[in-house]
Symmetry: C2
Subunit: 461 residues, 2 copies
């Protein structure tokens, strides 16, 4: 045992059952120890390197996803989890196939190739590809105005930019996201033959960004691809000049049968209330185009770090802490659903709190919390403890896709909120690589997540 452990245990004895202010002072000391340990000896960054560089892309059902399960189970054991286990779930298996091709034919007859990526869950085109006049629309209202006569037999180009004036980029993503999710079926409703969307990205650059879409079974399934924001601007300008004759693309994507997969779970058993479960997690699957560094390798390695730092400092939580690597957030949410389904059957235990990190490994700003007013007040009362780490913005409302299904059990949910300015530069694109993550930002995120888990572990919710 290192000296720092002895000192911390000494403090734990010293501060036991003290009045509120002293308790808060004690908590601030514990959190400082957590911070010092992670900023000095954190393993999250090295674990992220492994997940990005040794494992790589890990879409549900892929060999990468299987490797990621093995690697994170190992990381959890090395972090010191008492128990590491796999929780089964069936996952969809969408495959991109050979890379997509596309070109635009200009009025003069010149063909200009464009980089496109198929949207997740979309069907491929025929072998010959799909070809048609390109109709640009900004939104669904414009699509409806054009109607069947303006759309039928054509390729719809949804060119809805993320609103740059929204300081919280997730709000802009929420607004523009519907064109990716629902655009293909909305266009099919009016007889379109294919769909091209402007990538959901904050900046004008060269990367096409993928992401999930959903077909509405009432309409034909159209092949759908994304182009980069730069190409979207170019296409729009050329269309306005009447300089575009035709658009062609080929996608080789297909949805195969479901396959078995797993959530990966590591547990530190609570010392006093082991049947009260605190869940902290991220999602293990990533899109196939890149390394899934911010989305969501970061959330996984930060959750593992929560276990590691507690073990390293000899902090044994009163309540059980579980780090969960959820499978299949990107295109099915099967892991999150399976976790909540298992929790419902696990009647001897109470899932009191779940925290998700799925907004990137950026510098911490705070948390969004969904629970009863009393639960929110309790978490918000801890804001001063987070201030030294830049994470005192505790707002009402928040959680995460994977932990969302726990809400029906009455679990209080929280989403870790890092700074959002750079997330949609890399989100779902080939640029979401290890090198885009700052080790200090990643580790500070783990610090405030561990601090939140420590507080709920100590005081319940």
């Amino acid at each position: 045992m290192r000296n720092s452990h002895l000192a911390l245990i000494g403090l734990l004895l010293l501060f036991a059952a003290l009045p509120a202010t002293a308790q808060s002072n004690f908590d601030s000391v514990v959190i400082r120890r957590i911070s010092d340990e992670i900023l000095r000896n954190g393993k999250a960054y090295e674990n992220l390197r492994v997940l990005c560089k040794d494992v790589g892309p890990r879409l549900s059902g892929s060999a990468g996803a299987e490797k990621a399960i093995v690697e994170t189970a190992r990381m959890l054991r090395e972090a010191g989890a008492d128990t590491v286990f796999l929780q089964p779930c069936m996952v969809p298996r969408w495959v991109r196939g050979a890379r997509e091709e596309a070109y635009v034919t200009m009025a003069g007859g010149k063909r200009q190739p464009l980089r496109v990526v198929a949207l997740g869950n979309s069907v491929g085109s025929s072998k010959e590809g799909v070809s048609g006049t390109l109709v640009e629309v900004n939104d669904f209202a414009e699509l409806e105005r054009l109607g069947r006569s303006g759309i039928e037999g054509r390729i719809v180009f949804f060119n809805h930019p993320m609103d740059p004036t929204l300081v919280q980029t997730f709000r802009a993503y929420g607004q523009a996201g519907t064109y990716r999710s629902n655009g293909p079926s909305q266009a099919a409703k009016y007889g379109a033959v294919g769909v091209v969307i402007r990538s959901l990205a904050s900046n004008v650059d060269d990367h096409p960004h993928t992401g999930a879409m959903r077909y509405n079974d009432s309409f034909p399934k159209l092949p759908a691809v994304a182009i980069s924001t730069k190409d979207a601007e170019m296409l729009s300008a050329q269309l306005q000049k009447g300089a575009v004759r035709n658009f062609w693309f080929r996608s080789n994507a297909q949805m195969l049968a479901d396959v078995p997969s797993f959530n990966v779970i590591g547990e530190l058993r609570g010392s006093e209330l082991p049947n009260e479960i605190i869940t902290v997690g991220g999602h293990l699957d990533s899109w196939d185009l890149a390394e899934g560094a911010h989305d969501d390798g970061s959330g996984c390695v930060q959750s593992i770090e929560v276990i590691r730092v507690m073990k390293a400092l000899g902090i044994r939580p009163k309540r059980t802490v579980r780090a969960v690597m959820f499978m299949n957030e990107e295109n099915g949410l099967r892991g999150g659903t399976a976790y909540a389904d298992a929790a419902k059957l696990d009647t001897g235990r109470k899932y009191i709190f779940a925290l998700e990190s799925d907004a990137g490994g950026f510098t911490p700003r705070g948390f969004g919390v969904s629970g009863t007013p009393a639960q929110f007040r309790k978490v918000a009362s801890w804001a001063p403890l987070f201030h030294p780490y830049g994470a005192a913005d505790i707002v009402s409302g928040g959680g995460g896709a994977d932990i969302g299904p726990l809400r029906s059990l009455g679990t209080a949910l929280a989403g870790f909120t890092p700074d959002s300015q750079r997330y949609f530069d890399v989100h779902h694109a080939e640029s979401d690589v290890f090198e885009a993550v700052s080790p200090r930002e990643l580790h500070l995120g783990a610090v405030v997540m561990a601090a939140m888990v420590y507080l709920v572990g100590a005081y319940g919710l």
Copy 2:
């Protein structure tokens, strides 16, 4: 005039002379307009590209610095400044000469080359270079313990890391900075022949970081170079094993005679109190190794953006706003000194407030303010207006190197505080390039700077 101008002027008339809450509502509307305009149409990022890619490195007295003067004067005119003028100052002219060379000779006789960079203002070695046994010290206390018998004729290796546990990286920089600034003369005091320092960097990587040092005239001037943090770790490990025989380096740096240069100033004349001056600035010079994107191209283009956005929105401040590109912050502070000297002679005007951005173009967190308690309280009372932009952390104490000399005139000072986690990855190293700056982070910084200037412009200080 665009519709947005008319609407804003309408608002200005509507809200004139309203009670405090309505006034604050009005201010929040103006600041929202500022934010929308910069996030939608900001020119700071494109101006930064010009400063980084077309101008490039711009150390005081260099051709790059001259080009930067011409370019930023143009940018200020294009931004709509009423007046753009150059303010003369003499600057030191330090030149690196041919790139440095170094190698370590291992105990077995093998020579391993290392990348080193001369510290700014340092003298070069002789043509033959300097060679000696390497003595590693962590701090000045250890240097003193070794004394003349342990140091004489040797090369001192200051291996003092930036403390990773300090969340505010500038505090760690402040602590470790003395080994770069004062290490060479302290080592000379005990008869060393040369100095190698561990780069002041937050992370362990391959870039050597330069930066200014100062000779104490009581001791011989030793050549001094920095090595990367990774090489520092490697050297330290090898030294501990007794595996290092000798260190050799050659530096070709020299300090030439002072040359004339300029601060670049653009002004928006105040509508009611033109003789009250608000200064907003960054420094135009950068180290010679890189593009000076974060240090401090960002501060320059953000300051220009403050002028641009006011002009674009038709906001005519009551008080005069000056954007100042200070020359020679890095190795002499001559520009900042000249500006304050001119202000002292400018008795008809009052320099009420100065804001500097010299901590990188990162996402905003707040401001540090130095003034009277009443001035601080006034600025701090505006914190809620900055909250939507993530910049509500208004703390007492702060400013900037260039505006520091204004303090003796009673000017209230403020430093813009962006997030500090990534700054010392790139600071003074070849990695401080345009690509390391996020356009949204840069522009949000400009938003909160413009908001602060708008508020002081409207209400004084």
